[in-house]
Structure formats: structure tokens, C-alpha cells
Symmetry: C2
Subunit: 137 residues, 2 copies
């Protein structure tokens, strides 16, 4: 019952998972897997991935695509461990430009919400301890 | 009983949590908190933090310090979401130089184990969903 209510609560939301981007394939691979895992939770209308730099699709491309599909509530989430220049300056600047572009094209009904990075969390400690145990073998 | 056995298993290990480093304070703050959380688990002899660049202490400084304290089993763990040039080239190069330095000074009894980054994990998805819910409010 609680699960149904929760799914109803977020069913109009699209999520954009934003990563840094890299010349090597690993950053994109991990983001892709996280996206698939989150999509499988079935909580949001759709979950997409986007990259700040070096990989495609870009953040603005993905948001334009979601708007063209009729999404009005978009959560842009930085998949970063901690805040830094990318999450406090670069990504907000991109979102600001997209919001301006949408407003100028008459789409004032679209809301882009920006979230916080992962941060210090006991679940991260759990994962790190697993990685340490794996390394020790 | 199982907990006691586990603590005994890892009591001779020191852990070095390695982050990227940043001109802004957030990266160091998050690593500091993760270090404290892990120290509180009481699983390893000691847990230290180190930075690849921009912040102190550096990786080689921390490892030298641990060796001078008598630690012989050191796990160096990249606190990164995914592999990239930093985890596959930069940090391994630093560890290689430290291992060489230790071997040349006759400390062939010190073992430096390098671990894997966080990667795609359902617990990361759990955290990201919490951050999305917080952002929606």
C-alpha cells in the first residue's frame, strides 16, 4: 500500500543522473548501470543519464528531449561523491542556461530541480569495507 | 562471535582512503567524515585519509607515516565512484614509487594492497533515490 502511494507520488518525475564524463569508458559504464538499476525500481517515470563533459549525451540535450516528450518535472542529480566546482558552478550554469532557453521558448511550466551529491553516508562506508575485504581476499 | 573473528582477521590492517582533492573544502570534508565513520566500525587497526592532489596529506606521506608506526599491511582504497585515469594510472604510479622507496630502504616486509573503486551498487541507488526525494521535498 505504501509502495503504491510512493510510486503515485513520483510518477510524473523524470530523473537525469549526471556524471563527470571521462575519456576512459568506466565512468559511462558505471552511470549506465546505476541508471538501469534505478529504472528497475519503477519509482520515476523515466531515468536518463547525462554527462557534464567528454561523453554524450550532454545535460541540455537530455533535458530538451524530456521536455519534448512532455515531462514537466525534471530532477537533475549530480552523481558525485562530494560537492566541488563541477557541482556548485559548472552544472548549475548549464541548468541556468537550459531554464532560460525554455522560458524564452514559452515553456515556463517545466520545473528543473537540482539535487545534492551523495555525501558522507554509512551505506558508502559499507561499500568501501566490502571493497577492502575483496582487496585483502 | 562472528564479529570477534572478523575484527581479529583485519586487526593488523591499516586503511588509506584516497580521494581526488579539490580547491573547495567539500571533497576533504566528505572524506574526513567517511574516515571517522569507518574508524568507528572498529574493524581495522587504523583508517587514514590521503589526497591524490590539491590537499594534504598526500598518499606517500600517509604510507610512510603508517610504516614508521609499524604497520605492515596497508590497504590503499580509491574513494571514487568509477575507475578513470586517476585510479588506473595516477594513484598506481604513486603506489609504485612508494613500494620502490620502501624496498630500497630494506622494508620488503610492508605490503601495500590496492583496492577497487565503489562502482555500480544497489546501495548507491538507494542513496541517489534519497537525494532525489529530498530535492523534490
Amino acid at each position: 500500500m505504501e509502495e503504491i502511494e510512493e510510486a503515485e507520488r513520483y510518477e510524473d518525475y523524470a530523473v537525469v543522473l549526471i556524471a563527470h564524463g571521462s575519456k576512459l569508458p568506466y565512468n559511462k559504464e558505471v552511470l549506465k548501470e546505476l541508471r538501469e538499476m534505478m529504472e528497475r525500481r519503477g519509482l520515476f517515470k523515466t531515468v536518463r543519464m547525462a554527462f557534464m563533459q567528454l561523453n554524450k549525451p550532454s545535460i541540455d540535450e537530455v533535458i530538451r528531449e524530456l521536455v519534448s516528450e512532455g515531462m514537466k518535472n525534471i530532477v537533475a542529480l549530480p552523481v558525485f561523491l562530494a560537492n566541488g566546482a563541477h557541482t556548485t558552478e559548472d552544472i548549475p550554469n548549464i541548468l541556468r542556461a537550459v531554464r532560460k532557453e525554455l522560458a524564452e521558448s514559452g515553456r515556463k511550466d517545466v520545473r528543473i530541480i537540482y539535487g545534492e551529491p551523495i555525501g558522507a553516508d554509512e551505506r558508502i562506508v559499507d561499500i568501501l569495507i566490502d571493497r577492502i575485504k575483496d582487496a585483502i581476499g
